[in-house]
Symmetry: C2
Subunit: 378 residues, 2 copies
């Protein structure tokens, strides 16, 4: 009775765990939640007078599109405001791009591991995923990438502090990927929610800005830098893709929330975003360092990881044969929530891994949680 796609509809383990992990006793490394102290609480006064209550344009508020375009130019993606489409959170961009390009059986290149909810959305539309190994030790597997690009209609990449692996593509890798995509004429979909959360140095410019011929969609989010509850993100696209993307946005929900658009416009216009991020970085850096220290203290020699330069996650490789789902359940019984790595792969049989978020718990709880977790490992 349901549409065929419903057979492919999976739930997100992250979302399923969310209710559970919000219990105050739970030390949660499972989600990708900002620290409560890092959540931006905007001044709501100007909103009362703002013209935000009537229907608005599907593309988004003109002022916000201009501010987003200007900021993108500053981090290396030159574009016009007409190339910007405001989203109700960047998850919506995945839905729109899947609608634009994915029919049943269409090959989509994805990283392995990849962002869970993107795999979920591409699968829903019937994509056949072509995984390209990307990991902190070996970097991008270019043989798999070149092979995949020959066949894929769409390449979904998160090159900057990837979720879950934390990996950041180097300058050289970005240039090589851009050249490969230009040659293959695959559409690049670059998902970039963590760019601003860089703890050592500055993130390299996006791959989308390095393309010469291929079509592309780039997207960013204000969930990680300001507040997820705002549900505000944006995409920037090659001009040839804008008209159908705007129509898909119309059909999906007419237009994005105007309260959030107004609040974020204000924050971008007066420089508050940069000041807020500058205040968040030391907090997250401290937590990252606390987790790295705790892991070293409790798990050195029994697991492998790299200390991430940015983003919100450690990616921990465990000894072969570790049952990570069983480990998750045993950790939950000890009030520690972790994400099994399997959820981030589209194929079974991956190396056992865990994704640990370091932004949500404070350093004391990070130490306590890692100690409890380590006690469960051989």
């Amino acid at each position: 009775m349901f549409a065929r796609r419903i057979d492919r509809l999976t739930s997100s383990l992250v979302r399923d765990l969310l209710a559970l992990t919000q219990h105050p006793d739970m030390i949660s490394f499972a989600g990708g939640l900002p620290a409560d102290a890092a959540l931006f609480r905007p001044d709501l006064q100007p909103l009362s007078a703002a013209d935000v209550w009537q229907y608005g344009p599907s593309e988004g508020e003109p002022g916000l599109r201009e501010l987003v375009a200007r900021r993108a130019g500053a981090f290396g993606l030159a574009c016009t405001p007409e190339q910007v489409l405001i989203l109700n959170g960047s998850q919506q961009g995945i839905d729109l791009v899947a609608k634009l390009l994915v029919d049943e059986g269409v090959p989509v290149l994805v990283e392995a591991p990849a962002y869970l909810a993107a795999l979920q959305a591409f699968r829903l539309f019937g994509a056949r995923t072509l995984p390209v190994p990307v990991d902190a030790t070996g970097g991008v597997d270019f043989a798999a990438l070149q092979d995949g690009l020959q066949r894929a209609r769409l390449a979904y990449l998160t090159p900057t502090f990837q979720n879950p692996s934390g990996y950041c593509y180097s300058e050289t890798e970005r240039e090589r990927v851009a050249a490969g995509i230009d040659d293959a004429a695959t559409v690049l979909f670059e998902d970039d929610p963590y760019r601003d959360l860089c703890y050592d140095g500055t993130a390299p410019a996006p791959i989308a800005g390095r393309l010469r011929r291929a079509h592309w969609v780039y997207q960013g989010s204000f969930s990680k830098t300001l507040a997820p509850g705002l549900r505000l993100g944006y995409l920037i696209a090659h001009p040839a893709l804008m008209a159908p993307l705007v129509r898909l946005k119309q059909a999906a929900d007419l237009h994005s929330n105007r309260l959030s658009q107004h609040l974020v416009s204000q924050v971008l216009r007066d420089g508050t975003l940069e000041r807020h991020v500058a205040g968040v970085l030391p907090l997250y850096r401290e937590r990252r360092d606390a987790m790295h220290a705790a892991l070293t203290r409790h798990l050195a020699g029994r697991a492998h990881w790299r200390c991430p330069v940015g983003g919100l996650f450690f990616w921990i490789t465990l000894p072969a044969g570790t049952d990570t789902m069983a480990l998750m359940h045993r950790a939950l019984a000890q009030n520690v929530a972790v994400m099994p790595g399997d959820a981030f792969f589209d194929e079974a049989g991956a190396t056992p891994c865990l994704r640990l978020n370091f932004s949500h718990a404070d350093p004391t709880r990070i130490e306590l949680g890692v100690a409890r977790l380590a006690a469960l490992l051989p």
Copy 2:
């Protein structure tokens, strides 16, 4: 290069006209915009202290789901809070239900005329629409309905002050439709955004609440009663449909905007919604009456219409042979925006009609706009 569905992706004439009709000189009968004076401007103070900035549940805020369920019970649709899913506007419900049930070629029963953006969304997913004539004079065409129900997987109906026709199904018609849907085991999708805008008496209870066996989705909106910029609506579904709908919501945009959810919760909890609607009704009744009087003054004998009991629209039947698209362009040149009826039918060759919105312009401008329009008609 695009997905097949993009060939079926049409733009919404309403949305395309929106930018044009926002010019201050334009008298717009084209959209479905609330009057600016009717837009609810909430007290934003409690929002500052609210816990709305972190990620929230995909289903929506528990308190809001409960308030929506209670209100639905009061207007004749008994349900539990677990059956409520909060949406970023009710257009999103159409996207989710289409994903749930519509594969390419799946037959979907729709009214003729029907809500434009629903036709757009069903078409996008490849629905084959089965139109059932519904009009203010003859009511529901039950022969076409019974025939359609035998074949359709989904029946999309807006029985209460339909957009565009303004028609409201009688008690008897609602009972007959419910019995037909129960017999055919078609899924009912009842879209009900105008229920509260009833100018004479009270709207009859929804069809969904009269079903005994069939599965159903009912949806409502706060765009017409509070403010469209909030982008907040909800669906209520048969328990068997909730799990996949919540997963589809996850994949579409994780969850709805929490600022808007918090503001609407507050307004429902303290009775502000009912007070606000009570204040809006006289304003809209006056405008409806003004448009009816202007139409009678300028078009009696040259066009047909019924004065609608609720909703936001007059549906005007013009003499056979009138080119409504040409009329729209000539009216635009006179600074009057109207919607040609053709857009609301999935088949060509319909009787020439216009949809005229009466909520947005004040009575003086309604008189002026109708007079200008009448001067363009033979």
